[in-house]
Structure formats: C-alpha cells, structure tokens
Symmetry: C2
Subunit: 455 residues, 2 copies
C-alpha cells in the first residue's frame, strides 16, 4: 500500500480549452426540437427570445465537435478545476472485488457539485450579450446554488423558482442562494400565470421541476432584458459538462488503465453526458467497446420504462417539443430524496444514444441508493449527494458482478456532488424512515397515454 | 488576467512526511501542565491513562523539532491533501487593495474542515495501541464529524458528547457522525457524574465545550480499553495541524512571495498554530519578521482580554492544570454562531508565544465576521465556516490598512472550513437577526477573579 497513488491531479493549465460536442460525431443525429404551434423544426433563431444567442447557437450546433471555452469562463473554472480522479481503493477492499474502481470527484467544487460547470458559461454569455436579469428553476437546489454564485460573479440579477417541497425541506440551499444575492421564490407561486393555474387546481401542490420551469420561462419572457437558463436536459448544458470527461480521459491515461464501464446518475442527463461523451468519442471514432450506464431512480424510470416521443420539457407546455424518453410532462414523481433526479424526461442527445444502443440504463431503488452511499462514505470519507448515490449503487452492482465472474474490469463513475447539505435525508435513512417507491407498469402506461401525439 | 495562476497545487508525493513541533525551537519553553492534586509538573506517563501513549509522548515532547508521520496516516492524508493554496484575486479586486491575499483552502477535505488532520493520527495511534473505544466532545460538530470518519476508517467505537445547543441547532453534523457509525450524546447528559451535576443545578443548561469535555473524559476513565481524544488546545493536536503550514511554505515558494502576515481564527489554537508555526520557525531560526495574527470572537476574548494563568481545560476540573490565557474554566460564552471558537482558554504553546510577543491577537465582532464571510463568498465562490470568517475579517482589516498606506503586503490566512452546514447562521445574519456580543471589562474581571490560584 505504501506510496500507491490515490488521487490523479492535473495542473491548472490542463483545464480544458474546449468543450466536446458529441452531436457533431453522432452517426444518427438527434431529431430536431419542434415549435409546438407550427410543428416545424426549430432553428437557433427561434430560441433567441428565450436564451442568450451564443447558448442557443450551441444548442443547435451539429457541426463543431469542439467549441472554444472563453478565457473568462476558464478563469473561473480554475477556482476548482481540474478536479481529482480518485482510485477508490477502500471501496474496492470493502466490496472484496477484483475490479478497479475510479471516480471523478466533482464534489470539490465550491458549491459542492458539477452544476457550476454550466452555471459559469451560462452567466458569462448572458453578461457578454448585455443581458441584466436571468431566471431559472431548481429542484434540490444544487443548480440554483451554482447559478447564484455565477450570477454574482458576473453581476447579474437572478430569480430562482425553487420547487416548494425543497424550499421547505432544504432551507440551507435556499440560504446559499440568498448569500450570493439571488431572489428565491417557492414554486408554484402566485407570481406567474402558470403558477396561479396550478395553485387554483391544487392549492396544496408541493411543486415539481416541470412547474418551476414554466414559471421561470414565463418570468423571463415577460421581463425586459431577461433570459432563461436551465441546469440540465439541454444540449448546451451537457456540452459544458464535458470538461468532466475531458479531464478524466487525461487522468485515466495517468493510471495506465482505460474504463470498461463509465457510469453517471441521470436526471436530465448533463452529468452523465459530461463524464461519458468524451469517452464515447473513442467508441464512435476508434471502435472502443466501453459501456456507458445511466443510473436513474426506480421511482422515475424514464430511460428504463418511458417512451421515446416528442414531449414538452415543462408542465405548462411553454417549451419547444423535444424528442426524448419521457414519462409524460405532467408526471409527478414520488418525493424521493434525490431531488435532482425527479424529472419526467431525458435530454435529447442521451435519448437518441439510448435508442441507438450506444448506452444503457439501470433503475436504482431509493434504499439501495442510500445503502451504497453509506458504504461509500465509510470507505472513502466523502458523504455523497443522494443523486450521486445512484451512480455509486450502479458501480457497486458492476463491481459485485466482477467478484462473481473474477473479471478485473475498470469501472469509472462520476461523483457529481457531496451530500453535506442533504443530511436530513441520511437521517431518515438511518432511522429506517425511508421506503422504496416504484411505478407500476399500469401507472406508467396510463401516464404515457396522456402525452399528446404531436407528430 | 489571462493565464494567471490562481491555485498552487502540490502533487500527492509532497504530502509532508513529518510534522513540525515548534516547542523544540522555542527559546522560552511553555511551562509544564500540573497535576491539580499534587501541583507537581506532569510527565508523559501521567497522561497515559487518558490518552494513547504515543499522543501523550508527543504532547510532552520538547526535544524533536520534526516527528515522523506514520505511513498509514499519510495514506489517508492523501485522500484530500495536499490542499490548494489560492491567490484571492477576486477578493483583492472587491477590496481595491494593493495587498496580495492568499488563503490555504482546508475546506476541501471530505469533512469540510482542517479537523481531519488530527482526527486521522489520533485514531491511528489508538488503534495501533490496541485501544477499541474512544470518546470525545464536539461543539459545532466539525471535530466530531472528522473523528467519526477517522474512527470508522480504523474500526474504533466512538462516543461523542455534543454540546446540547449544537445538537439541537446543527442536526446535519449529528447526522454526519451517525452516518459514519458514531454514537452521539447531547451534553450535559445523565450518563456521567459531571453531566448529572450540571443538570441538577441548571436543568435547562444548553451545554458548553467545558462540560462536554468533562463528560467525555469521565466516560473514557470509566470504560475498559478506552481513551479520550481532543480536537484542539493540546500540543499534539497543533502538531498534527502543521501539515497545513508545511505545505503552505512550499506553495508560497511557488508564488515567488513570502507572507508578511499569517492569520488564523482562534478557538483552542490548532488551526492557527497549524498554518503559523512552520512560518514562525523562520522568525525564530532565520530572523524573519513575519507577523502572526490570531483572530478570536469579541464575545470570547481570552487572548485580547483574558489572563495568563494556570487553569483547567474543562468545566468539572478533571483535566491537568494548563498555563494559558483564560477567561476562567467556568466561563459560559455567548451563543455565537462560530461554535468552534466558544472556548474559555488558549492552547499552552500559543499562550506562551503571545506572552513572548511572538504573535498578536485581534477580536472580531460577530457581525463583522459574517460581513467578511459574505464578501468572501461572493468574491471567491466559497461559503466559509463562521469560524473561518474571523480569519477573513482579520485579513480584510490588514488589506484595508494596505489600501490606506499603499503598502503591497503579502497576507496569508487559513480557510479552516466551509460553511455549507452552517447556512442557518447565514440565514439569521441575512435577515438581520444576529447581533454582536461583547463582554464588559467588569464581567471579564469578575470571571477571572473566580479562577482558583493554584501556583
């Protein structure tokens, strides 16, 4: 054990200078988003009213495999990047597996998760284009906290619609946003038409990401010099997250190994894509056979049990129609503790890749996710975010399979964030107060039937 | 700004191989602790019943300036060390100061603070000596959380007495300890004579570090194969923390600058000593003129307004008598939010150094500390622990003085931890719900008069 290397560290100058846009390399391109009124494919220009132009252009870019990272963004990345790649020796020993387990540790960012990787460029481009106000929504609060920091760094006014149940259950994340100067509104709220409609029908609604998106979009559309921003799902968000995988490729080279399996938890798909797509490039271009596994919660099984179909990204139907694996945009997921994974649809790129069998998906029950998280914490000393626990659980399944087969696979997963602000959830797990939530096939079928057929 | 270096990173092999014991280099050695019954100076052997032998030997070591770090400890240090040294460009810009501000970022440790630097070796030596159970106390919970991780890593049973007000106000830290498998008891409790006595006299006592220490010591003395551990104050704890300053010296070399001022917040003195003592060696040995500033809360001003005198380390008087700056071991500090700084006495080494004018002290009002923390958070993106805010406030005072004088001083402070689990405190600050707490000179004098004169 003496002198074995545990953490592979890259110097600051190795912070990537470009993001990787996998769409340019995909043999089957994702289908285009549609304008819900006309059913016509969208152009980047159609998105300009909603997003900063540069972000809209990135969203629709099918041409450039690599896109330059602006110096100002790279400068703020250097506050916490490159993040370490870690060999999880202690976890391997606890499992007794012959597999080699690595994780990319995004929990060391100042806000405690990968979300900041996209918050910084989104705020930067808005500022650069003269925008003064931005809006967004947040579930568990990881995205809202990250964007609050970025908005403060670029001197933008930020309004965050926070899903009401999280606003009440996760006051620490709300306070982080307020410390950075953001305005935080529990959603559904009376401040928007979309919120008022929900409250009229369901006065006690505890909110959902879909509703909060509707509110944030509505406010952006009705405020001068204001744009909307989103923390996952969209192509440009995943693009920004590829700094994770681009660094990890270099760091895996330092280990002398290459991953047989790459794993990420899956809400909208941005952290999964961030770690996976740079490695997937080697599958597309160089015939590598690495497997890519998205780990979703069993209570919200859009990848394993959803349908591939055009659907809205939000509850009220304000967004373009996106071709994605979905459980229906009106789906209300169970109140599981991995708030960041409670979303009805999957990003467009990941949906196409799953359809084309370039990646796989597994669904993880809530109790298995926390069991994995506690084992990891005791072994490696880091309490993971409830979302990240799904990736850990999937990695443990792979490592246990190696124990049975005797294979020495190399497993890489993304530790998307730490759970230090989610201890109330661990508390409930440790006191036996948590249960599993599953959707019956009947309920899924009923929900999917409700999705309007647009095409 | 392009390509300027912000974070100075050392490779894993630069994790120190030895700790620095400043006592060996001090011209005036600290006076020895006394046995309260006999008033005779203690030997290391007198401490063996309470502490692991190796730790007791380190506590009394006046001879060796450098002490080897065991491989097993260094291996766990490598999970998060070396920690970054950061140039706080954004903070400098926000202040408009010509000073160069650096901070050592201990908040990146898995538990979020420097405490883990001593938790790991303390647990290691206990394990090595065949001890199966350990006890400790914790205030805000930073030390308890770090030791819980270390106890889990070395497979020791741990009982933590947590100051009752923190147990109730900081449930997240309690949950972290429980996630690592520790038993957490609110103090004062009925489980010890010391606790029962307090509860009899003051049934609604919200506890104090002094009481919790008494309880943890009593349990250790009455349990088979059990030792007591402490997270600050003692020489061996500060010894372990010198990894901070030893790394920082190498990292300052990388910057091409050397600090004119080194600053740490001050509770018992271990993080302050950890960053300061390796630099102070250059003052002692090589005639350097660096200033060392301890930043304590104005509500608990032992360094700036206390008396240098033999006093107990705990409320019940179980510990040896220590020669230190103290406000009296029965002093109950105000319920400020920097729970880790609410302690009546200063470590023996720092007390002697202050007496000898080798270091200075400043006291920071609570509101100034949070104002500094919020400014730092918005500039650097890291929400600091309420304790660390005191160091930041002192650094800002120095930087503002440079702005007035036009001096380009080099300021280095230790960011001992992040505040992500202390957001309730920020919440109260942001809503205007916090006040300053000061002790009047009369109250201080009355309190100090109560200290028994032992010598």
């Amino acid at each position: 054990m003496k002198n074995r290397v545990k953490r592979y560290i890259l110097p600051e100058q190795d912070v990537p200078t470009q993001w990787y846009n996998i769409v340019a390399d995909m043999k089957t391109k994702p289908m285009l988003p549609l304008n819900p009124a006309t059913k016509q494919p969208l152009t980047a220009a159609d998105l300009y009213p909603l997003f900063a132009r540069e972000l809209a252009d990135q969203e629709m870019n099918e041409k450039d495999a690599f896109i330059d990272i602006p110096d100002e963004v790279r400068e703020l990345y250097k506050n916490y990047r490159c993040t370490p790649l870690v060999r999880a020796y202690e976890l391997e020993e606890a499992l007794g597996t012959p597999a080699h387990i690595y994780f990319k540790n995004e929990s060391v960012s100042p806000i405690g998760s990968h979300k900041i990787n996209s918050a910084i460029p989104q705020a930067y481009y808005c500022k650069k284009e003269g925008i003064t106000n931005i809006t967004t929504e947040t579930g568990a609060g990881q995205w809202g906290a990250a964007l609050s920091y970025a908005a403060s760094a670029f001197d933008l006014e930020l309004a965050v619609y926070m899903v009401k149940i999280s606003y009440e259950q996760k006051p620490y994340r709300r306070s982080i946003m307020q410390t950075f100067g953001a305005q935080v509104i529990p959603s559904p709220s009376m401040s928007t038409k979309a919120g008022r409609k929900v409250l009229t029908n369901t006065p006690n609604s505890s909110g959902s990401l879909g509703i909060a998106i509707s509110e944030a979009v509505e406010l952006a559309m009705n405020t001068e010099n204001c744009k909307y921003t989103l923390g996952s799902v969209l192509n440009h968000v995943t693009l920004h997250q590829t700094v994770i995988g681009l660094e990890a490729i270099k760091q895996m080279e330092m280990t002398g190994e290459y991953p047989d399996v790459v794993i990420g938890c899956f809400g909208g798909g941005s952290n999964f894509g961030g770690i996976s797509f740079p490695f997937m490039r080697n599958n597309i271009k160089n015939g590598y056979k690495t497997r890519f596994v998205a780990a979703e919660p069993a209570s919200c099984p859009k990848l394993t049990k959803g349908v591939f179909q055009y659907d809205f990204g939000d509850e009220a139907g304000y967004t373009p129609l996106l071709p994605m694996f979905t459980l229906g945009h009106n789906f209300s997921p169970a109140n599981i503790h991995a708030g960041g994974l409670r979303y009805h649809g999957a990003g467009v790129i990941a949906s196409q890749l799953l359809k084309d069998k370039m990646m796989e998906a597994v669904d993880i029950p809530q109790l298995e996710s926390f069991e994995a998280g506690c084992l990891f914490a005791r072994a490696e000393g880091i309490v993971p975010a409830p979302e990240s626990n799904h990736a850990i659980a999937a990695a443990i399944r792979e490592a246990n399979a190696c124990k049975e087969s005797g294979e020495k696979k190399v497993i890489l997963f993304n530790l998307s964030g730490h759970g230090l602000i989610d201890m109330a959830s661990y508390d409930r797990y440790l006191t036996g107060d948590l249960t599993n939530h599953f959707m019956s096939d009947d309920d899924i079928a009923k929900n999917i039937e409700k999705i309007e057929k647009f095409v």
